[in-house]
Symmetry: D2
Subunit: 341 residues, 4 copies
C-alpha cells in the first residue's frame, strides 16, 4: 500500500526518536523548565534571527490556536480568518469554546488577502453600531494554507502593515510551516515570518515529530502568566521535556528544513507524474499537499493500492483528491504511483 | 544527585520507547483511529474485567479532568470535590474555565468521605433556595489522593452508592492509579474501580509513559460525539498512535503493574530508612509519595545531594517535604538517602 | 422633531403603565412566582392555541437569544442563522460568549431559506470530517427579519419540516413579532408560529412595553432547571412581576395586536408618502420598518426635523435610511414627513 | 397578611412610578444614551463626592456582579469572596459561567476580614506552585452582607489598603447599600465607599425601584468598551431610560436615603418588639434584615398571618427566620407583629 493520505500517518523522524532514547534517563524539572526546552528555544530564536523572540512548546495545532488566540484577545474581541481557515471550520468550535467569535472572511485560494482585511477593519470602525458588534482583535492566517498555497513576502508585509495600522496582532498558523519555507518558489524566510508576525507557531506534528508545536512571540510579547493560561486550558505537559527534546533535534543540523525540503521534493516529483499523465490540478499548491482531479473510475481503481484523501466532488464523473508527502515518503512510492496511473 | 522530586522527571520506561521504535514506520490512520489504540483499549478492558467499558486516550491529567467533567456535566451543574483535590486547587481553574463550579468539601487525609457527600446532597435538595445554586452533578475523587492516601473498598462502595442514589456519576482521577493498586495494604482492584466508578482514568504520564492517560467510561456511557468534544478542547492528537502504542506497551505483560509495584517497593524501603533514623511522617501514605518531617537544618544540609519537594512548614524549625519514587528509582538511590541522613 | 428613529424611543403604552400603578402595592412572591406572571402566561398560551406551551419571561432580546440558544444546544453544537441575523452580527458575540458558534448562512432579503438549511445539513452529515466540525444543533430565524421582511406560512412549514427531519429545534426570534402578525399580507398567525417552532419569543420591548420578552416553548420542552439557567446568565429579575404585569396588560383585550396593527398602519401610510413622492425602496418591508433610498442632499436637509436611522450607502449620492413606526406614532407625524419631502 | 418576606415583594416607590409617567412620551435615544441617564449619573456622582466616578446602569444584582467581575478580571484570575457571599452560593454559578473561580474564604458574621484576605494573598505569592493556581484578581464584599451586617470604616480602609498593596481592585456589592448607609451605628458614608472601593454598585431593585442597579467605577476605571461587554452578556436594555429615570428619581431630594432610613427605622421598631417579647436574635443585624430565633410551634402559629423567610434550623424545636422591611413597611404592620407574638 502506497501511503499519501496525510503527513501524520507514521511515527517520528529517526533522529528524534534517537534523541529521546539518549536523554531518557537524565532527570529534569517538569513542566518545560528543563535544559532541553531551553536549548531548543535558543536554537529556534537563532533560526528566527530574532533576539526578542520568546518560544513556548505546546502539544498540538488546534490547542496552539485556541491558547494563543484566547490569550491575546480581550474578552469582547474576535479573530479575523479566511472562511477556509482551520480555525473557521475544522477545529470543532475550539475558538468559540473560549468565548471568541471567528470573523470569517472570503478567501483567494485559501489566502486571506490584505485588501479584504483592510476593507473590513475600515468599515467596522466607520459603522456607527460597532459597539454592538464583536471587535476584531487579531488576524489569523495559515501558511501554507489549508490548500497548500503560500503568501508572498509582499502579501505578508501588507497584512502586517494593516494589522499594525489597526493595532491588532498578526498570527500565523504554521502547522506545515517547514513545507512553506522550503517551497521552491517562495520568497518568505523564517526570519521574515518572525519579523512580520506578532506570533506564530512552527508545526512539529506534521513535520516529523511525534507531537509538538513551537509557539513564537516575536517581540517579548508573551502574555503575562502564560504558563498559567496553558495550564488552565489543560495543555501543560508534566514531562515538558518531550517537546523540548524533539524540537532540539528538529533544530539541530537543520533537520526541520531537511525534512521539509525532502517532502516538497517528493511532492514536486509526484506533481510531475500527474502532469505527465495529463491529470489536471484543482489548485496550484507549491508545498507538500497536492490537489488533483481524478476520474471517479480511476480513483476507485487505484484506491486499493494507494492511500490518499477525498477532497470534494467536481462533477458526476470527477473528484478532487489530496495526496500528501512527508519526511517518510520515498521515491519508490512516487514510482509506485506512476506505475498505477 | 539523588532524584526523588517527582515521578515525571525522566523519560519513559524502556519498553515503551522500544515499542515506539518498532512501530515507527508503520502507516496508520490519524486521530486515534489506528490498530495500536484499538489493541490497547482491548487490553485495558480485559484488565478491567468489564466488557461494557469504553476507553479513550488523552494526553495529560488536567486535560482529562477538564474534558471528562465538562462532557458529563449539564451546563448548570458543578462537581463535588475535596478542597484538597487537584481540580480544586492545582489546575489553574481549568474546570471553571469550562463554566463549571468546583463544589469544594472538607477532606480527611485528602479523602472525600461518603458522609460528607451524602450530607451535602441531602441538604442541597432540602434547601428551598437550591434553584439559585449550582446543582451538584458529579463527584470527583483522586485515588491515590494528593496526599498519597487510598480509599478502602468499603469507602468506594459507599461513595458509589451515594452517587447512584442521587443519580450523579462518580469520577476517579487515577493520575497515579497504578501505585494505589499495587499498594501493600489496599483491598481495591482495578476491576473494583471499573465496577464502582462511572468514569475514571488510568494515569500514564506519572506511571512510566512519556505522556498519556486512558479515560475509561465503565458502562457504555461515553458522552455522544466525544471525539468532537476532545477536538473542541484542543486535545485531539493527530498522531493518536503515540498514546495507543504507549498504553499497549503498558498493558502488555503487566508492565503497568510491574512499574507501579517497583515504585511502591522503593517507597516502602525509603519509609523504612526514615523510620530507622527516627523521622516522623506528616501523613501515612501507602503509595509512592512520602511526606516526612525534617528539621530545617537537616533539610538544608541534604538538599545539595538529593532532590525532593517542599510541602509545607510545620513550625519555625521543621518542614514537611515530599519524596517520590518511580519506575526509575533504584535501591542504590535509597541507600544514598540512608547514607545522607 | 418627528420621531422615526426606532420603536424603543419612548416609554410604554399607557395601559401598561396604568396596570403597573394599579398593582403596585400588592405584595407577591419574587422571581416570577407571582399571580401576574401566571395570569399573563395563561393568556399567552390561549392566544397561541397551544395547551402544551410553556411561557417564561425575560428582560431583553439579546438576553433571550443567548439563554434560549445556550439552554437548548449541547456543548459541541452551534446555531444555524442567516448571516444578517441579529445573533450573527449585532449581539456583540453573545452567543459565542456561551461557547457556541453561529453557523452563518447566505440570506434572501434577510430570510434564511429552507433549501439553504437543508443543503447545509445534508452536506454536513455527508462530510467524512464532520466530527472535526461544529455540529448544527438549532435553526435560528427572526420574524420579521432585520430587514422587516416576513416568512410565508409555506416557508415556515418547510423550515420546520427540515428541522424535524434532522431532529434539531427551530427557534424564532420575535423581537417585533406583533408587527409581523399584523402585517397586511401575511398568512402566518401566532398559532402557526406556536405550532411550527419549537421555541420562540414574543417581543415586548419593541412592541409597547418598558422591557420584557415572553419566551414560549411549544411542546412542554422547557429545558430542565430553566430558572437556574436564567439565574446563571444573570437574567433572573427579583421583581419578576414587572414582566408579568406588562405582558398581562399586553395580552388583555388584544392590546399587543392593537399596538402592532397601529404601527403597521402608520408604516403603510408612510410608505404611501414615499411612493407618492417618488422615492424608491431599498427592500419591500411589510412591517413597521421602512428602508427607503434618499438623495444625500435631501437626507441632510430633512435630518434636522425628522429622526430616522442610517442604514447603508448606495452610491456617492444616495443613502438607504430606515424609518420605524410604533404604538406612539401619530398620523400627524406622517403628515409632517409628507410636508418635509 | 403582614408582609415581611423580602424587600422586593411590591412594585416601586410612588415617586418613581410618577416620574416614569411624566416622562413617558418624551422620545430619547436608546441603550442608555439619553438625558435621563445622564442626569441620574450626575446626581449619583455628586452624592459620591467623587468627580472621577463613572456610572453605568444595569438591571439586576447577579447581572451586575457577573459583568463587573468578568470585565475586570484577567482570564486566569478569580475573585476572593466570603464563603457566605452572594457570588459564592446564591448566583447559580454566574461567575464560574464566565470562566472565573470564586476563591471562597472563611467569614465573620458574613464579613470577609482584612486579615483573611491579606493572609491569603501573602501565602499565594509565597507558594512556589502558584503558577498552577487561580490568580486572585479582585476582592468582592457585600455591604450590608447577606446577614445584614456592616463593615466599619476601619475595616473598609484596611481591605482597601490590602487590595492596593497587591494591586487588585476592591468591589462592593451594594444590593442593599442604602440600608447600610442609613443604619444607626454606621460610620461609613457613600463618599467613603466611593473613595475606598475601586468599583461598587448602588442597589435599586431592593431599595424601592422596579429594577436597576447603578454600577460606579470610582477613578475613571471603566473597562474599555464596557457597553460592548454589557451587550455581550445580554444585559443592554434597548430602553435604557427605564433605569435612568428610576435612578434620577431615587437621587432627587434624597429619596434613596429616605426610603432606606424608613426601612431601617421599621426594622429597629420590629427588633424592639422581638426584644420585648424575649426572642433571641441569631445575629445582630443593624440594617433592614432581622434574623430571629422562634420556637417551631410559634413559627407555625403565626405563619398564617405574617410572611417571613425560613433561614435555618437551630435545633429540633427552634428555627432562625428572617424578617425584612422596606419602603413599603408600615408601623401598622409592626404593631400587627407585636399583636401576633
Amino acid at each position: 500500500m502506497l501511503s499519501f493520505g496525510c503527513d501524520y500517518n507514521k511515527g517520528a523522524h529517526r533522529k528524534i526518536l534517537e534523541r529521546l532514547l539518549e536523554t531518557n534517563e537524565v532527570p529534569t524539572a517538569g513542566y518545560g523548565m528543563d535544559a532541553y526546552c531551553d536549548e531548543a528555544k535558543e536554537k529556534i530564536k537563532r533560526q528566527c534571527q530574532n533576539p526578542d523572540a520568546e518560544v513556548h512548546f505546546l502539544v498540538g495545532g488546534t490547542q496552539s490556536n485556541q491558547i494563543v488566540i484566547d490569550a491575546l484577545l480581550t474578552k469582547y474581541q474576535g479573530v479575523i480568518a479566511a472562511e477556509t481557515g482551520h480555525v473557521s471550520t475544522h477545529e470543532a468550535g475550539a475558538i468559540e469554546f473560549t468565548g471568541h467569535k471567528v470573523l470569517a472572511m472570503p478567501h483567494t485560494d485559501g489566502k486571506l488577502m490584505p485588501d479584504t482585511v483592510e476593507h473590513y477593519l475600515k468599515n467596522f470602525y466607520e459603522d456607527a453600531n460597532h459597539d454592538h458588534m464583536v471587535f476584531p482583535g487579531m488576524v489569523y492566517i495559515s501558511h501554507p494554507t489549508e490548500y497548500g498555497t503560500l503568501y508572498s513576502l509582499q502579501e505578508l508585509e501588507r497584512l502586517s502593515a494593516v494589522c499594525h495600522e489597526y493595532e491588532i496582532p498578526l498570527y500565523l498558523d504554521g502547522a506545515r510551516l517547514g513545507y512553506g519555507l522550503m517551497s521552491r518558489g517562495t520568497d518568505v524566510t523564517l526570519a521574515d515570518v518572525a519579523r512580520l508576525c506578532d506570533v506564530f507557531y512552527i508545526g512539529g506534528t506534521k513535520v516529523g515529530a511525534l507531537c509538538g508545536e513551537a509557539v513564537v512571540f516575536t517581540h517579548r510579547n508573551t502574555p503575562e502568566h502564560f504558563l498559567t493560561t496553558v495550564k488552565q486550558h489543560g495543555a501543560l505537559l508534566a514531562k515538558g521535556r518531550l517537546l523540548g527534546i524533539q524540537f532540539d533535534a528538529l533544530f539541530t543540523d537543520d533537520l526541520y528544513f531537511e525534512i521539509s525540503r525532502h517532502a516538497v521534493e517528493m511532492a514536486e516529483l509526484l506533481k510531475d507524474v500527474f502532469r505527465e499523465k495529463g491529470y489536471p490540478f484543482f489548485i496550484e499548491s507549491p508545498t507538500n499537499q497536492i490537489f488533483v482531479i481524478l476520474e471517479n473510475q480511476k480513483m476507485e481503481a487505484i484506491k486499493k493500492q494507494v492511500e490518499f484523501g477525498f477532497w470534494e466532488k467536481v462533477d458526476e464523473d470527477h473528484t478532487v483528491v489530496r495526496f500528501v508527502t512527508s519526511w517518510a515518503t520515498t521515491s519508490e512510492e512516487i514510482e509506485g504511483v506512476r506505475a498505477l496511473l
